[in-house]
Structures are given as C-alpha cells and as structure tokens.
Amino acid sequence: MTTTAPRPRLTKTPDAEHPVHGPRLPVRILPLTPAIVLLLLFLAGPIAYCVYIAFTDLQLTGQAQESFVGFDNFTRAFGDEAFLNAVWLTLVFTVLSSLIGQNTLGLALAALIQRASKPVRTLTGGIVVTAWVLPEVVAGFLLYAFFRREGTLNAILDWLHLPSQNWLFTLPILAVSFANVWRGTAFSMLVYSAALNEIPKEITEAAEVDGAGGRRRMWHITLPMIRRSIATNLMLNTLQTLSVFGLIWVMTRGGPGGRSQTLPLFMYEQAFQNSLIGYGTAVALLLLLVGSLFSLLYLRLLRTEV
C-alpha cells in the first residue's frame, strides 16, 4: 500500500457523497458527445472493421469485392514460416528491450540517481530523457548511424582493437533492441525514481543499522515495496514495445531477409507490399488481442489498488 506507481488513479469525484443540484441530464450527456462520437467513429469503428476484414480476403488490387473466408487467414498465418518468424522476433525484441533492457536499466539508473551527486544526476537524467523525447524517426536515424558498419560503435571497437562487424546485417534484432532500450529507458527511470522516492527513509536506515548490506536491502526491502510499480511498468513497457514500428522501419526495414521483422512490420508488408489486406489485418487482430490482454492485466493491477 505504501508504493504507488505514477499512473492514472481511479478516484472518486471530490465529494461524490453530495449530489449537486443544478444541471440535469442533458448537461451531463451533451459534453460527452463530441468525444464519444470521435471515439466510436475513429477508434471503435476501425477495431470493429478490423475484426470484420480479418475474416475476408480483401486485397488492394484486382478484386472488386472481398468475400468471407472464415478462419483461413489465421490458419494460413500459423502455417506461414514468415509469420512464426515475426512472432519469435517480436518475443525476442520484447524480452530483450523491454523486460530486460528498459526495465532493469531503468531501475538501476533510478537506484543510482538516489545516491549520486546532484550535477551527475542532472546530467545523466537529462541525457536519458532527451533520448526519450526525440521523435521516433530521429531516434531511428541516430541509432542507424551508431550501428552502421562505418558508424560510431565500430569506431570505438576499432579503437579498442576489438573485432568490428556490420551490426545491422549480422545482428539486426539485437541492434533494434538496443535502439529501443536507448529510446525507452527514460520512462522506467522516471517510474522507478518516483517509486523509490516514496519509500520512507526510516525503513532503509533501520535495516542498515541492523546490518543489512546493500544487496540484501534491495532484495528484501526495496523490491517488495515497489513491486506494484514494477508490474505496471513492465506492462506499459511491453505494450509500448509491441507497437514499435518507426524505429525498426528506419533502421532495418525489418531486414535483412526478415531478420528484424517484428509483427507490426510483418503486418505492414503483407498488407501493402503483398497487397493482402485481409491477411495483414488478421495479423493486426492477433497483435491487438495480445495488446488487449496486457491492457486488461494492467487494469486489474490498478484495480487491486484502487
């Protein structure tokens, strides 16, 4: 109960116990209509349409009317090596960059920031947050430059007399995962900094007096106290990582030979390069379902605490 992640809170209205006299029903509904209309037409609509065309053979060209094909798109997907490859790469990308990278590095940075001197704290925080604020495509270009054969990483490796290689060709999924860590760690850092700040100093100090070392304090006190923050942060990181498109598109276009093609890029390729809108949408629907699942878990997590 002591820790809360920075996140929306589902609170009661300030004084819900005192129903207000004054405006009646139309005033309560009318202001909601523009938002509801927009949400229905441009968000719920496409989602419903998504469910529909995932079951059709809609194509971009050469066909006047799509027809209903049932689960064909889905059976096709699960028999399609390229799809399974994309699922696997999405998993690798998410685990490497979100679960391990952003999450752990964000926590480490937040913990170090608690102890560091002010100028170092400001400097590091500023740099990490700048990487986060940059537009997705710009971040993509910066990391592209970093990982290219003639880029900065190889320059450093040469200087250290270590073997260099063409990262975007040999280990593309690793390169884009690092890029996502570079771009996304700031969020975890901010979340964990806020959570750590909420831990009362007395508790850690008491443990210190009792002789608990740094590692034990981290494991037995800090981590359990911020576990809710960890859960929500993991959820949000995963959701964000599932929908990364621009970053990978700019760095590798999903290549070479599909070796960094995560599900969003696979979906795009099927729908537009291969003109199979129906098939692409079936993939989109699967992605949306996985996303909804995480989103529901996230809701549940919040609810246990509300």
Partner: protein
C-alpha cells in the same frame, strides 16, 4: 559512516557517468554532424565548424513545408483533442452517475491499446469512406487516438478543482458551460497545458499514422518527409540529415522542458509512451 556514504556516492556517480557516456554518443553524432561540412556516420570533431548544412535544408521544399504540415496536423488534432477532452471530463468529474466508472475503465483500457495494430484496417476504412490522403481525416484519427489518455488526464486534473466555487457561480445563475469555461478551466490552467503539450508532442513524433494515411508528398509532415534524405536524393548528405533532425526535434524538446517539472513529480503518466 560519512566516508562510506562518500564512497557510495562516488560509485553511483561513476556508474551514472558510464551510462551517460553510452547514451550521449548518438546525440553527440547528430550535433557534431550538423555543424560539420564533411559529416559521415561516426562521431568525430568537425573538420571545420559551419552552418552550411542548416543553410542547405532551410528551404520551403525540405524544411518549411513539412514543418508547416506537422504544425497543421498536430495543432489541429491537439486543439480537437483538448476541447473534446475538457468537455468530456467535466461531467465525469462533476456529476455522479453509474455510467462513469464503466466509461472510465473503458477509456483507461483504450489508453494502452496498441494503435499500431489498427493502422491497416484504418487505411482500408479510410479508402472506403474517401478520407485517405486528406489532412482532415488524419487530424480526426490523430485526435481520436490521443483522446482516451487526454480524457484521463483532464479528469484527474479537474478532480483537483474544488467544487464550491462553481456552486457559487451556479447560484449566481451561471450555466454549467459558463462555469466550466470561466471557473474550472482557468483554475486548472497548468493541467490543461500539460494535456495540450503532451498530446502535441506525441503526435509531432508519430511516424506511422501519417505514413499510412497521407500519400501526397506535399502533405507530408516532417516525421515522414525525413525519409526522403535516404531514398530519393541519391547520396545521403549526413550533415543535412543531422541538421534537419535537430530542427525537427527542437520544438518537442523545448515543450518537454516546459512541462517536465509536472511530468517528473510522480505525475500520472500511465500509457504515456505508446509508439
């Protein structure tokens, strides 16, 4: 005790500086290359300092039109988002109704849906209803995609405004709309500006939405037109690409700095970083 604390601080400083060094390299590349007449893909001190790269890109075709398109697109969508969110938040924050909770939970659920996933059906839908390649269609979709989170934020900020002031206004005969406009919104000025800046920044950096929904080169915002440095212009002029990246990124960095204090202080950021 003190010396141990000092050692610990030094260790923390060293660790942070190492991470900072790794993180700063790509940023250093973009700044140094923008000023370098012979920029390539590595971080290096410029052969000579020059503003030629900026000179070369500050033309209507390369920079001004895309930035103006970005401004039109994101400005329009932000305006729409903020107005709709403020209106919607008002009854949610002020009046008790058994629809509030399900509605708010649905909204919260929607804030974290991966919008990337629905872009293909949105494209297909836009082709069907003839909204494809139109600014207004893209603005409407942008606004809708940002709306759930904006409503959440706005409602939470609005909850912080005490109700007594409005009740006084009602007694004096003000309508609910008047009290929202004249009393509630001015009192939650900082909250409104956070929602505004945040929506704008998210859209400014968004690549996939305009990439899918706009086709005509003249309408492309900067997030998409930056691609032209690679494809169509033959040899990539990295110095110019870096200069353009800086010009394109500066507005959002400035806006972020403007609201950073509010975003930093344990403030509700959930679902904030959707690509």
């Amino acid at each position: 005790m003190t010396s141990r604390r000092t050692t610990r601080r030094l260790a923390a400083d060293a660790g942070l500086l190492m991470v900072a060094a790794a993180f700063v390299l790509p940023l250093a590349w973009v700044v140094l290359s923008a000023l370098d007449p012979h920029a390539n893909l590595r971080v290096k001190t410029p052969d000579a300092l020059t503003l030629d790269n900026f000179d070369a890109i500050l033309t209507p075709e390369i920079t001004f039109t895309p930035l103006l398109n970005s401004l039109l697109l994101c400005g329009g969508a932000t305006l729409l988002t903020v107005v709709c969110a403020a209106l919607a938040a008002y009854p949610l924050s002020r009046f008790r109704s058994r629809f509030n909770r399900p509605f708010l939970l649905t909204i919260l659920f929607a804030t974290s849906l991966p919008i990337t996933a629905i872009m293909v059906p949105v494209y297909a839908l836009f082709v069907r209803v003839d909204l494809i390649d139109t600014m207004q269609g893209t603005i409407l979709f942008f606004a809708a995609s940002q709306l759930p989170f904006a409503i959440w934020l706005m409602k939470n900020f609005m909850d912080g405004v005490p109700r007594e002031l409005e009740e006084a206004a009602w007694t004096d005969g003000a309508s609910a709309f008047q009290s929202l406009l004249r009393i509630v919104l001015p009192l939650m000025g900082p909250g409104v500006s956070v929602v505004t800046v945040f929506s704008f920044v998210m859209m400014w950096g968004n690549f996939f939405v305009p990439f899918m929904l706009l086709l005509t080169p003249d309408q492309m915002p900067a997030s998409v037109s930056i691609n032209d440095f690679f494809g169509n212009r033959g040899m990539v002029a990295y110095g110019q690409l870096a200069a353009f990246s800086i010009v394109y990124s500066t507005p959002v960095i400035l806006l972020y700095v403007l609201i950073a204090r509010r975003l930093g202080g344990g403030f509700a950021l959930g679902g904030a970083v959707k690509g």
